[in-house]
Symmetry: C2
Subunit: 199 residues, 2 copies
Amino acid sequence: MSRKPMVRPGGRSARVQEAVHAAVRELLAEVGRERLTVPMVASRAGVTPSTVYRRWGDLQELLSDVAVEHLRPETEPDDHGALPADMTAWAEQFIDEMSSPAGRAYIRDALLGDPDGSNAGQCSTYAAEQIDVIIARAAERGETVPELETVIDAVVAPIMYRILFRPTELDAPYARRLVASVLGGRQSAASQRRQRLIG
Amino acid sequence: MSRKPMVRPGGRSARVQEAVHAAVRELLAEVGRERLTVPMVASRAGVTPSTVYRRWGDLQELLSDVAVEHLRPETEPDDHGALPADMTAWAEQFIDEMSSPAGRAYIRDALLGDPDGSNAGQCSTYAAEQIDVIIARAAERGETVPELETVIDAVVAPIMYRILFRPTELDAPYARRLVASVLGGRQSAASQRRQRLIG
DNA sequence: CTCTTAACGCAATGGGTTTGCGTTTATGGA
DNA sequence: TCCATAAACGCAAACCCATTGCGTTAAGAG
């Protein structure tokens, strides 16, 4: 039942797509998610509501599209020269971006207008790709590295669980403990004690 | 801005609450989530739509209420006489109930119509209480037990993450691996350190 | 340039949402 | 038991979002 069987890539269609997405981003910041309506978006974008309904189906699917686009990482993870530093920095940035009210709203929107789970799967893929880069870089350096799935289970999943279900129990020290737990065996004893004291 | 400042516990209010909740459960099974509307629920419950709007605000909040009520465990976890068996059985049952399309829909509804996060927090509390019972029982037997927070991070969070973001990567053997990794015996070196580090 | 058809705008219709107002009733106190 | 207060509800009108038929525009192909 997808509303976009073959989107024309250029000309008017492209301008409408960009104008509508921009209107959603602007209005989300101005009036918030609660007051947002399709006619409001259409008016800001300079199109009629029926155009939005025909291309996106409803407000939820439009918001899901915008949310996934917003959640896509724009750059590769920073390179700090060592796996623990890379992964800790990534986890802290992940929390910064996702645990804010705006970030939680984007995650919720991505989950909401997503009947087949493809948008949610895309979000998971983004995180996996970022971590895969970090792991591959560490392996290139000769460091012993954990499995990607292990990191997802031990770092990404607990963070996302707290973002969604326990938003008050989330901070940077928690991220450092998670990273330390999954890398602990490969760290020096001094580094382990340092992590424990910091956390 | 809460729609329920002080809900009257008895009499007509209680009857309306029960009738509306029952109507939602029936209509969810009959027409599905997509076709469900507030006037439809109100008609089935024998009340006017304005009553529903005034008490719950909108359809999402009503669905969130019903979902949390549905996700509440009705019994204590089964007692198999040992911590690994108890926790494995609980994790497998958790997956059974939550990973079905209906279960995922309930979780999604609980998250989405939940502006202040209290309903989502309640869901997390339910799981924590169940695990706490299992841990307390094991401690009573004299078994060495992990911290509650450790189990939530290592078992509950990965399962929930997959339910929401990667529903195809979830099965009973995965649950057994998660439980095995967090418990003693043949646990991994990483999870041994996790028990010491997180607390 | 011409043809085809996807994409868009316009306008009317339907129905979900919201709100003012009067009535009912749960709750606490005399 | 009776009364006072205010919450909860029903009714109905008004509002506006969602939906759809139809004519027009313009992107892409030959």
